[in-house]
């Protein structure tokens, strides 16, 4: 290990001491990798101050880099809480909610829909056209369309449950892992398109076109995301992001 190489776990000599050796702003500007270098120095300075504070305090040494709960986190949390409580009181006072007449249990509405956040599941029940008519069954389907829709729900929820095991989510921003960001955007788009499919009788669009778009748009969205993020990696910001990567505390 050479002395010139900065170590992010504190074992090396890459610490920038807060004294006369600290570069001035004009010196920082003259460096070629200005932003990434500045970021590095900032984190090193913060880490050094954190280390000094620990060594002179009576706290038990922990290898967790964070701000103390009191007062830093608590002041921030109280500010946020005060803001949202105040906003709730303001809105409740100025725009009190409408209390409509009770629902009539004797009349069935013409259009029956689940709540909007369940449209995706409702749309998965309408995948009948995808239910394959198998030649081995003499042109019959393996299961009824309604069973197929329920199985589609299980499959989609299963895929969503599997994704965290395939990708641990170590990237802090999408540009670090364009593929998984593209997978996320495809899933996000599919959530919207399948929700639109569930209310196809209310949308002013041809149902067959809507059905095709339901599966085409997620692919287009994912491909676009991947292309954009891959081209963003070429930009200068990615050097900065790689620097952040290296500055994370070691496991």
């Amino acid at each position: 290990m050479s002395d010139e190489e900065p170590q992010t776990d504190g074992s090396g000599t890459g610490i920038v001491p807060p004294d006369d050796e600290t570069p001035t702003w004009s010196e920082r500007k003259e460096r070629t990798q200005g932003l990434s270098r500045l970021t590095y120095e900032y984190f090193e300075r913060a880490r050094r101050e954190d280390q000094d504070l620990r060594q002179e305090s009576s706290y038990v040494e922990r290898d967790v880099l964070a701000f103390p709960v009191w007062p830093h986190e608590m002041i921030r949390n109280l500010s946020l809480t005060a803001f949202f409580v105040g906003m709730t009181i303001f809105l409740a006072a100025t725009l009190p909610p409408h209390l409509g007449p009770p629902a009539n249990p004797n009349s069935t509405p013409a259009v029956i829909l689940p709540d909007w956040y369940l449209y995706w599941s409702f749309g998965l029940l309408k995948l009948g056209p995808l239910n394959p008519e198998l030649a081995i069954l003499g042109g019959d389907t393996l299961m009824a369309d309604r069973t197929y829709g329920v199985v589609a729900n299980i499959v989609v929820v299963g895929i969503i449950a599997i994704v965290p095991f395939l990708n641990k989510g170590s990237a802090r921003r999408p540009v670090e892992q364009p593929f998984w960001a593209a997978v996320g955007m495809a899933g996000f788009t599919f959530a919207w398109t399948i929700s639109a499919l569930s209310i196809k009788n209310l949308l002013p669009i041809d149902p067959h076109l809507l059905f095709d778009l339901t599966f085409l748009l997620p692919i287009i969205g994912g491909t676009l995301t991947y292309a954009i993020l891959k081209s963003m990696q070429e930009g200068y910001m990615y050097d900065l992001n790689r620097r952040y990567y290296r500055l994370r505390p070691p496991k």
Binding site: T94, L95, H98, G100
Partner: protein
Amino acid sequence: MADEFIKGLAIAAGGGLIWMVLSGWYTTPGFEDAQLWGAIPEGLDAYGQAAIMLREVLAWFIILGVLAFWVVIPALEQLREASS
């Protein structure tokens, strides 16, 4: 750039909040009727007329403020960077 973004966002959120409250008071005939965008009622008192005027002012404040901070000022900065 981030400063300009948060200024535009603050104008949109803050102005939009007051606009929404005034619209809920004056231009919302009913819950199952037109909401926020309803017709301006006739025969308002002085407070009502002032509120309607403030609503108009806020609408233009949001449009012009967001345009200024998200479009015009960044475009001018880009132009200045490109020319220098």
